[in-house]
Subunit: 425 residues, 2 copies
């Protein structure tokens, strides 16, 4: 971890810049995959699975027999944990739905919005070394609460053509309607445009490797909705002299173990704490199974000594972290000043892992500074708000002349006439 | 307008396909503009204004003197109309904000979301023959309600380097913080990355020509938030035998006059109405100042005879129109069945023009079938929902083991350890 002591504010922007990842060369590869899946459908999917995942897949769709097998394979301990986490996630996300009132903006003019679920959504769940079943919960629970009719998952198979039982089990617990064994850019394309087996969806969610990310970016430019732009995961932790360096170090390493491209930022107004946390990170690192990954992530990371915890918050607002941990004695008051962050963890017992898994908040959050303009995934992400209006005769009589004047000023006489024909009646 | 009589449901998808617009050749041009504005800043903006708008601009920013001049130039009649429309838009959009409760998902675990305005937003307002001051109201009013700190407008100057007084006046009435005389892809680039004069913003809104649209698409792929993907404007109107063909025809033409690429769709279960509306469209068309534009738009348009008004709604849900007019005797009941639409106009007096200008709803809406997954612009578009959580000692004690079990199952021992160090204390 690089260390900066009292850096001038003018340098904050450049310190906040995330490491540059050049993935322009992916463009050609991913566009080729997209074109082939669009033209050849399932055939291309089978061939890519063999090529990229080393798996020969008979049926893309996970069968009922495979589902039953998976349900049996999950331990009771894990089932109970998934139930607890699922209930918390459901409770918090259910609170996000609100019906809005009908507003009479003028006598005879009623306007309102109605929550309507996106009919078909697709969730991408990465495969690989760790089965991210927590992401199934984080995406499928809000989709179910929203009322989406079709919620499908695409996830890459292992070499034996199998999906991890935890992913299948979590999907079944949360009302997912179908699971398909397909990963990568080819899975994103299948969900965006449909194939013989995989239905086209209207919005695509979920994390993934650089191919998945690039494919989401490309189909988005074609008008297919996606959850949010992606970037490496990151945490920014703020501590004062009262914090426990063990806690902070553990939080930083929990982030660093995600991937070699993760970024970890530590801010404090106390020089002893800076030294203590850096030392404790080194100690804890030695005991971490994913030590190599975490070490590489720490190379991209930095700690900052600033003059006050309030200045730490100011820096954090410039950086706009995905996760913000505030571990200071006045954490709640400080949190009031947060402007740009995905999810904020207040106080010494609020570790990021809680929000990653089970406290109830969503873990699909804006990275890479996107928290300046994006929210994390919520029930809102699975809903459209359709506006309605109803004008009475009195309403159009009253508002009509205003519309006519404005339409005329915009040289849109057809717009004006739509009012005039009604006023004449 | 093409006419289909009782088309089979299997054909609805293909009937609903919007006319294909090939703008791939724009890619090179727009990428060149983006690259040049990013490297040369204001200098490039001045040169593009001269090249594309034929305008030599001294100061990009509209001056206080120009603002005062514009305020004087707007007639009292228009000022009053803008005031009325602005008040309705404000009233409806203010109702969209709701504070959410703090949820205790488990004893000792509190989760909540907070509305935080996007700090800096940029609004693109097209220039050209018609000054779209109504779009200023539709974007700046919700931005102000959201509490955005910086709300800038970019709009192209005329040949004399001037901005239409109505745009300047509307911007001043709605709290816009600065107006810049710049249009096209160069304006989008300036807002996305900043120049010496134009500040970088975090989200870009507003309609525009194909260069603007392409530039928004390209900067979006670079992580800059935009309001929504763009496409030609469109309306779908449904009428039963009780509707007034004059009203329907006027509504269709109000849409058709927008641009030659606009699409107009008319659905009915009554053959006489189909014939009547088509005839009335032809009659009204002759009197329309923008007849040529509307005629061209009607070439891309169609009417459909279906077996019932309920089937009309079903077709509309497949088409997913930007604007949906339901002009039937049971309009309110039918509207309950709407799934995919941007904004719905219920009953014979609810013409689209009302929503375009003054009833209170927003007119920035998803076109091109995007209503399947996107909402129109609202206060939500200018806000992020930041999540917060606070766990007490009791909270982590209770939930900790669940998190540990799940983290271990995902092979993320650093995540587990962040809990374990706290449970040990």
């Amino acid at each position: 971890m690089k260390t900066y002591l009292y850096p001038a504010k003018e340098t904050w922007d450049s310190i906040s810049k995330r490491p540059y990842i050049d993935n322009r060369d992916l463009d050609v590869t991913v566009k080729e995959i997209i074109a082939r899946v669009r033209s050849e459908g399932d055939k291309a999917l089978h061939e890519y699975s063999e090529q990229f995942d080393g798996a020969i897949i008979k049926e893309l769709k996970v069968s009922d027999a495979e589902i039953n097998e998976s349900v049996k394979a999950v331990s009771d301990k894990l089932k109970k944990a998934i139930k607890t986490a699922g209930e918390n996630i459901e409770k918090f996300h259910r609170s996000q739905i609100s019906e809005e009132a009908v507003i009479e903006t003028m006598p005879g003019i009623k306007c309102w919005r109605k929550n309507v679920p996106v009919e078909k959504v697709g969730l991408y769940i990465p495969g690989g070394s760790a089965p991210l079943f927590s992401t199934v919960l984080m995406l499928a629970v809000p989709a179910k609460i929203a009322g989406c009719r079709e919620v499908i998952i695409c996830t890459p198979p292992d070499k034996n053509g199998k999906i991890d039982p935890l992913i299948v089990y979590s999907a079944m617990m949360t009302g997912v309607t179908a699971i398909y064994k397909i990963g990568g850019a080819q899975a994103v394309t299948a969900m965006a445009y449909g194939t013989e087996t995989i239905p086209k969806v209207y919005k695509i969610f979920g994390p993934g490797n650089q191919y998945v990310t690039k494919a989401k970016e490309i189909v988005q430019a074609d008008g297919i909705a996606i959850d949010m732009p992606a970037g490496p995961s990151e945490v920014l932790a703020i501590a004062d002299k009262n914090a426990d360096p063990e806690f902070i170090a553990a939080d930083l390493l929990a982030q660093a173990e995600h991937g070699t491209d993760s970024q970890v930022v530590f801010l404090t107004d106390d020089k002893k704490m800076l030294i203590g946390v850096n030392r404790t990170v080194d100690e804890q690192l030695q005991r971490l199974p994913r030590k190599n990954i975490a070490s590489a992530a720490l190379e991209n990371s930095f700690s900052l000594l600033l003059s006050s915890v309030m200045e730490c918050i100011e820096f954090s607002n410039v950086y706009a972290p995905e996760h913000l941990i505030i571990n200071t004695s006045d954490a709640s008051a400080l949190a009031e000043n947060v402007i740009n962050a995905g999810s904020v963890f207040i106080g010494k017992y609020s570790c990021e892992s809680a929000g990653d898994y089970a406290s109830g908040t969503n873990h699909t959050l804006p990275t890479n500074g996107f928290a300046r303009s994006f929210s994390g995934v919520s029930v809102d992400s699975f809903i459209k708000k359709v506006t309605f209006q109803e004008l009475s005769h009195k309403g159009i009589e009253r508002l009509g002349p205003t519309i006519e004047i404005m339409a005329e000023a915009e040289n849109l006489y057809g717009h004006k006439n739509a009012v005039s024909v009604r006023l004449k009646r």
